[in-house]
Amino acid sequence: MAEEMRIVLRNYGKIDPLNIDEYIAAGGYKALEKAKGMNQIDLIEEVKKSNLRGRGGAGFNCGQKWFFAYQTNADQKYVVCNADEGEPGTYKDRLIMQGDPQSVLEGMAVCGYAIGANKGFIYCRGEYPYVVDILNQAIDQAKAKGVLGDFDIEVRMGAGAYVCGEETALIESIEGHRGEPRFKPPFPGVEGLWGKPTIINNVETFANIPVIVDKGGDWYAAIGAPSYPGTKVLTLTGDVNNKTFFEVPTSTTIREVVYGLGGGVAGGKKFKAVQIGGTSGGFIPESLLDTAISFDAMSAIGATLGSGAVFVMDESRDMVDVVAEITRFFEHESCGKCAPCREGTARMNELVGKIKDGKGSAADIALLKKLGGVMSIACLCGLGQAAPAPVLTTLGHFAADYEDKLV
């Protein structure tokens, strides 16, 4: 049976998050000291060797990304922590920041040293003012102790926009603008916040860093799935017995998560589907449950690991009803900058609504598939590109739910 393994949540529930001395007593800030004793290239090589890949959804190699920013010459560079956590069903970054804020600060400071940045920002979603308070207290304590050296960290708040989790929209938002994504390239590592080289990593990615520096890249690379090593913090919601969170090696299968740690489907009902990675994730049927939760294994079945949200649905759930909620979400959250997303999310919501109301036809289903295909390649950012996934995967795996409603 699947076992938990706590790397990111190593101190969760064990130390007082608002007492830096307890973090230090648990070995905190040793990694930063060790990192500063290495030269920057060796440090980046160590992170590369761990093969740590971003935990914010895109799965980019962390050390590789740091190297781009390190290489770029500039008078000022920035480190940004993405704490926007907007994927419905996800609360792992909140857990990390509430339970062990210093681990995130330490990870950011290591990155700052590696790329040559003396200023960091944490962009925390507006829905978490109580987390912002914790972060500010943690920063004050770290400054008072002098553990961060000349690295400065400031918290900025979002204000309720899912798209601001996208890295370039996030940068726009910190700059005080509407959170509309930029065209890439240039990538933030070259031209980011206020035009300066900027590293943006997810909260969970940063929380992994001190352990990697401490125990070495090889140690980390040997945990979980080789192509996406380490652990992942998962949050279980929906019709599952244990609606809670777990941190597991990335080689753990979906079945082990749902039936092992999750305790199976609630109320003795039968399993119908699980959506992983948040609202933009694909829906997964029973037949694919033996897939590992690692990034590549999930991609191979047309799904995503994404944020690690695990939303379980029992046999009584109508996929069209759930998907209609999701298409509504995307229409609301589309920033409107590019036409394929602005128009596409609206039409998609309209078509799914029509089918849900018993007014749709086979032609509408064909149109949905075509529209989804176009959006996944034509939209400017990941929001519009991923928005069709729940529709297309349910049309693929749960076609009967749609067909039953056609005129």
Partner: protein, 147 residues
């Protein structure tokens, strides 16, 4: 504190208009037109741009609304956990519909997307404080705290 004094506190923060708007909303519950115009002056941007920022983010409102902002999560995990019944219960208790404010100015009622407390759905927040596992039966008790 007046909105002018509040906004002035953020004048030196690069990109600080969003922080300033949060602070104004904390005091007034919404962003009056004059406050947005003032922010445009302080942060040296055209008024249209400042309005663009104010209207982009769902937590900000350019229309007056009740003092205590009740937000009900309508994302999928809360939806399947029975958010609709909670909506009905709050609407009945307050005598208003989603998107409205009570006549006495005490409450505003809105939908929100996931607020990251999905371990105990359905979820509502009041002035961002989360209330978990909400049922229609406990709605009156929760609201009583703010009356």
């Amino acid at each position: 504190m007046s909105y002018k004094e509040i906004i002035a506190r953020y004048a030196e923060v690069p990109g600080g208009i969003i922080e300033a708007f949060h602070a104004v909303e904390k005091e007034l519950s919404f962003l009056p037109e004059e406050a947005i115009a003032e922010a445009a002056r302080v942060f040296k941007m055209p008024a249209a741009e400042a309005f663009g920022v104010a209207s982009f983010y769902s937590m900000f409102s350019t229309k007056a609304r009740g003092k205590n902002i009740i937000r009900l999560c309508e994302s999928a995990p809360c939806h399947v956990a029975g958010a609709a019944e909670v909506v009905a219960a709050i609407e009945k208790e307050l005598g208003i519909r989603m998107g409205e404010s009570t006549k006495d100015g005490l409450f505003a009622l809105e939908f929100t997307e996931c607020v990251g407390q999905c371990q105990a759905t359905p979820v509502i927040t009041i002035n961002s404080k989360p209330y978990l596992d909400v049922t229609p039966a406990i709605v009156p008790n929760i609201l009583a705290e703010y009356k």
